[in-house]
């Protein structure tokens, strides 16, 4: 069944609605998981956040009118949920602990070694800058889309993105003898 039909059935409710909702969630599971994986760099935390996002989306289902893509709506729900959680001090500490302690295993392969610095640099970005950057770079969201997704003004999106890029560049230039010689060389050239 196509997504639009599934959404229509889901919003109609009933037994078939539940089945349609389950199918929609299953179809979008990996998208949301991949998004949180990029944002948190922690597979386990990403999985927890994905599940919570789905539960939250279901609770807020009456607010979804079925006009936009379901995946876009899930990303919006997830982003705001993650941000809300970070705002709560205790949860923020817990998540920070998780993201700091359970980063990807240290690289064994060359391909992984190349990402160590960028991963660290990304994790050091506050979530308010990291999330727009992930949406912009990996999902090609426009400024307006990021603003609508995160419920923040357009100017804030612009300033956060520029600040994020500036911080990333500075951080990568700072790396003393890391694995990013090529990037540093490119940064110095630019």
């Amino acid at each position: 069944m196509r997504e639009k039909e599934l959404i229509k059935t889901a919003l109609a409710g009933g037994k078939r609605g539940e089945e349609a909702l389950a199918a929609l969630l299953q179809a979008n599971y990996r998208l949301v998981l991949g998004y949180f994986l990029k944002v948190t760099q922690d597979p386990e935390l990403a999985r927890d956040l994905t599940q919570e996002t789905m539960v939250r989306a279901l609770k807020n289902l009456p607010k979804y009118r079925g006009e936009g893509k379901f995946s876009t709506w899930l990303i919006a729900v997830g982003s705001n949920f993650y941000r809300d959680e970070l705002r709560k001090k205790k949860t923020a500490e817990k998540i920070a602990e998780k993201t700091n302690d359970r980063r990807f295993p240290l690289p064994e392969k060359q391909a992984e070694a190349e990402t160590v610095d960028i991963k660290r640099a990304l994790l050091e970005l506050p979530a308010e800058k990291r999330i727009p950057l992930v949406l912009k770079y990996y999902y090609d969201y426009s400024y307006q889309e990021i603003a609508a997704t995160l419920k923040i003004p357009l100017g804030t999106v612009r300033s956060r993105l520029h600040a994020a890029v500036r911080q990333l560049r500075e951080r990568l230039q700072e790396e003393p003898e890391g694995t990013h010689r090529k990037i540093r060389a490119t940064l110095e050239e630019s």
Partner: protein, 137 residues
């Protein structure tokens, strides 16, 4: 990772906030050029996350059905509790008004109603609520 592939873009199309407005070109271009030196690293990171994602299993249909049933049951309970609370408060309020009127406090009741009638629309109008499009929760 290669910067947003076509297929990836399609998975996250524009939200229903209307057609995509004209891009603030120079600013976005400026951002992209600032990002250019970071592209190899960001792409490598993207590829790595995709590899990790590929290694993670998607739960079966039963998992999603379970989530849906649990969440909807919770939502139904919450809606029922809300409706009952609303009715209880409304009955208590009307009983209070009735009691005051019986006791001869017509003027205070009238003044109270007047204040509510005056303030309520103001409060409703100024509640800071996000009124964005479809993508909002």
């Amino acid at each position: 990772m290669r910067k947003p592939e076509k297929h990836q873009k399609n998975l996250f199309p524009r939200p229903a906030t209307g057609p995509k407005k004209q891009r603030p070109g120079s600013d976005e271009e400026e951002l992209l050029s600032a990002l250019a030196p970071l592209k190899p690293a960001l792409d490598a990171f993207g590829e790595e996350t995709e590899e990790i994602l590929a290694g993670l299993a998607t739960p079966g249909p039963a998992y999603f059905t379970g989530i849906v049933r649990k969440a909807l049951a919770g939502a139904r309970k919450a809606a029922l509790a809300e409706a009952l609370t609303f009715m209880a408060v409304a009955i208590a309020f009307l009983t209070g008004v009735h009691w005051f009127l019986q006791a001869g406090y017509f003027l205070p009741v009238a003044v109270g109603y007047g204040i509510i009638a005056l303030l309520l629309p103001t409060v409703i109008l100024f509640v800071p609520e996000a009124r964005h499009g479809e993508v909002n929760e």
